[in-house]
């Protein structure tokens, strides 16, 4: 193992609740998660699992009816969870932690030239002015792989293709040399070839600027290409976290198994694709035990009563499932998955 890397962002026992018409929804249930300097962490999970809420809370962009009830988000010896004023957040947002949003087609202001939109950020956070800001903007455009920058600077978003616009969004995000970059479904709206280019661009920028990147996605294909570590979320909780190969080829939580089994690549031709039965739990209600238990064919009695703790599998790999308890019966992952695991491990050993 590599020596322990330094942690840049620490989330401790975070609980986030929303109030909707008098009812309380718990979107994040007691999450603890670390982000290491220079790594790529992927947060995967289905819609509504709380991935986006988690990231919004880091940037102070939660909707007005949502708030942090408990826990801490520590960045740079400050607890972001305690921030209340806009002034406090402005020191972090965009400057230290930046974000690449989901849909590049709608993420840019249609009435401002892309140059001005990037420059706004440069002026705001780097304190550059006039010609300096202009030069910096051109440099950023070049950085994200845009050619003919002087002409492009003066153009409006509608004169760019989707992939190009995503590059602009990335340029805006890195304009202030942030320490952490949050990519919220960065490639969902793009076609596959452009996806690969954008992911490669992010990787290059990560090396160049030493960024720590958090990918929020439900696309395991993307995860496999870029992530160093994966955190799997279900119903507002991180249920398994580990290095990419550990999650893909040695996962322990039945939900992670189900998630990987639903990859189309794992199905065989002519058979129905695997899908997880049932629906995610109602977050308005208090959840006892393991949130996945009602949909889990391997669920034990205790899964319905007590929330499993994190069981350690390796230095980097943890999972929240009672199946790892010494007293639990031995359960093997589904056969198709076992084959996939074996294949993956054999590649890893090569």
């Amino acid at each position: 193992m590599t020596p322990k890397k330094s942690r840049i962002l620490v989330i401790q026992n975070l609980v986030i609740q929303f109030t909707l018409r008098g009812r309380v929804l718990t979107a994040i249930r007691d999450i603890s998660l670390d982000l290491y300097k220079g790594e790529s962490l992927a947060i995967v999970g289905e819609s509504g699992s709380g991935k986006s809420v988690l990231m919004k809370s880091i940037m102070g962009l939660l909707d007005k009816n949502g708030s942090i009830k408990q826990g801490r988000i520590i960045y740079n010896a400050q607890d972001l969870g305690q921030f209340t004023t806009e002034q406090e957040w402005l020191g972090i947002r965009g400057k230290e932690i930046a974000m690449v949003t989901q849909d590049p087609m709608t993420s840019l202001n249609p009435l401002k030239t892309i140059g001005k939109q990037i420059e706004e950020c440069v002026v705001m956070h780097q304190g550059l002015k006039g010609k300096e800001a202009y030069e910096e903007t051109l440099k950023l455009l070049t950085d994200v792989g845009i050619t003919d920058v002087k002409k492009r600077y003066k153009q409006y978003p509608h004169e760019f293709s989707g992939g190009m616009r995503q590059r602009i969004v990335i340029a805006i995000a890195i304009a202030c040399k942030p320490a952490i970059l949050i990519c919220d479904e960065p490639t969902t709206a793009l076609d596959v070839t452009i996806q690969a280019q954008i992911l490669q661009l992010l990787k290059n920028l990560q090396q160049k600027y030493g960024l720590s990147i958090v990918y929020i996605t439900h696309d395991l294909g993307v995860v496999a290409k870029v992530a160093d570590r994966i955190a799997v979320m279900y119903a507002g909780d991180v249920i398994e976290v580990g290095e990419t190969h550990e999650i893909f080829f040695n996962s322990k939580h039945p939900y992670t198994w189900a998630l990987i089994s639903s990859l189309p690549q794992l199905g065989s031709k002519g058979e129905q694709l695997y899908s997880i039965k049932g629906t995610p739990p109602n977050l308005f209600q208090e959840i006892n035990g393991d949130a996945f238990a009602p949909r889990n064919q391997y669920a034990l009695k205790i899964d319905f009563i007590e929330r499993p703790p994190f069981f350690q599998i390796s230095d980097t790999h943890y999972a929240r499932t009672w199946l790892l308890d010494p007293l639990a019966p031995k359960v093997d992952p589904p056969a198709a998955l076992q084959a996939f695991f074996a294949e993956g491990r054999s590649y890893a050993n090569d």
Binding site: M59, L61, E86, L90, R93, G94, K95, A98, M99, T101, Q102, D103, T106, S107, L108, N109, P110, L111, K112, T113, E120, C121, M124, H125, Y156, H158, V169, I172, A173, A175, C176
Partner: protein, 314 residues
């Protein structure tokens, strides 16, 4: 840009031409007493016939149309037979239009100065008391017929503030009530639109990105949202402004303002064909100018509209 404006102007002239032709033809289908006026009773049928022939009404329709356009190009809209028969229609309308223009522009200015900032503040403080108050006002003005609140003004406000009711050119204090009454409705519309378009823009993705990159809420509101919300406003503003200028029949008669609003109704009732023609020309020109100005204004603020090519299609 110039090419675009030129093209739009050309289209407008064509539209105007068609409107005038239609109005002209419709009026020719009306009873001919409209050209005789009060003198009709004193003339024998033979005299009437001679009178109408002299006016050119026995010529073929196309010839009449030709004459009409010829006169129009020289700024001659003919003379009225029922209303100040010695003065050209152009002068009559000209006299009236200045009053309507004064009150129309005044009311528009007033409602823009109050309505637009109100809408902006309502969007900025969405859901708070100012927003609720403003919404209440808008709902009231839209839902209650204008006649009702005009009457309320007439009955109570005049007493309350000791304001004179009837318009007198030479006493500026008499201008207050007509101006405020006229501004009530447009203020509500401008506030409503402004708020609506601002809220629309606020929900868009680029606002989320702007927030994420650390733009202050105030800066966001005034630098990003406001301009974008102005695009739909810019398109409709000129037309509504001109609509207000054409004068409100109700308000002009309520405060006895000698404006254009009442003239059309009057002229139609008296079957005064020349005045009707002239007014339709003025109204439709104003409407068309409003539309062109709206298109140009929108083209100026929205870079997505390619000028010259494609005729201003987004």
């Amino acid at each position: 840009m110039l090419q675009y404006i030129g093209k739009r102007l050309l289209q407008s002239v064509l539209t105007l031409f068609i409107i005038i032709t239609i109005v002209f033809s419709l009026l020719r289908l009306m009873p001919e007493e409209g050209y005789l006026g009060a003198a009709a009773d004193k003339m024998s049928p033979a005299q009437q016939e001679i009178y109408l022939t002299n006016l050119g009404l026995r010529d073929p329709l196309l010839v009449q149309l030709g004459h009409f356009y010829n006169n129009l190009l020289q700024g001659d809209l003919g003379k009225s037979v029922t209303y100040r028969t010695d003065v050209p229609v152009v002068t009559i309308i000209g006299d009236k239009i200045s009053y309507s223009l004064l009150f129309g522009l005044g009311a528009v200015a007033l409602s823009l100065i109050i309505g637009v900032p109100l809408g902006i503040m309502m969007a900025y403080r969405k859901g708070r008391w100012l927003d609720r108050l403003g919404t209440g006002y808008i709902v009231f003005v839209v839902a209650v017929p204008a006649a009702v609140y005009y009457l309320v003004i007439q009955m109570y406000i005049t007493d309350l503030f000791q304001l004179p009711m009837l318009f007198d050119e030479y006493r500026p204090i008499t201008w207050i009530l007509p101006l405020t009454s006229m501004a009530l409705a447009p203020t509500a519309s401008y506030a409503m639109w402004m708020r609506r378009y601002m809220v629309d823009e606020l929900n868009k993705d680029y606002i989320k990105l702007a927030r994420a990159k650390g733009v202050k809420e105030r800066t966001l509101m005034f630098k990003h949202v406001l301009r974008n919300a102005f695009i739909p406003m810019a398109q409709y503003l000129p037309a509504t402004i001109l609509f207000t200028i054409t004068g409100s029949i109700y308000i002009e008669s309520l405060y006895s303002i000698p404006g254009m609003g009442g003239l059309l109704v009057d002229a139609i009732q008296r079957q005064d064909n020349t005045i009707v023609q002239g007014l339709v020309l003025v109204f439709s020109s104003l409407g068309i100018i409003g539309l062109i100005l709206g298109d140009i204004a929108m083209a100026l603020v929205d870079p997505r509209i390619k000028l010259g090519k494609g005729g201003g299609v987004r």
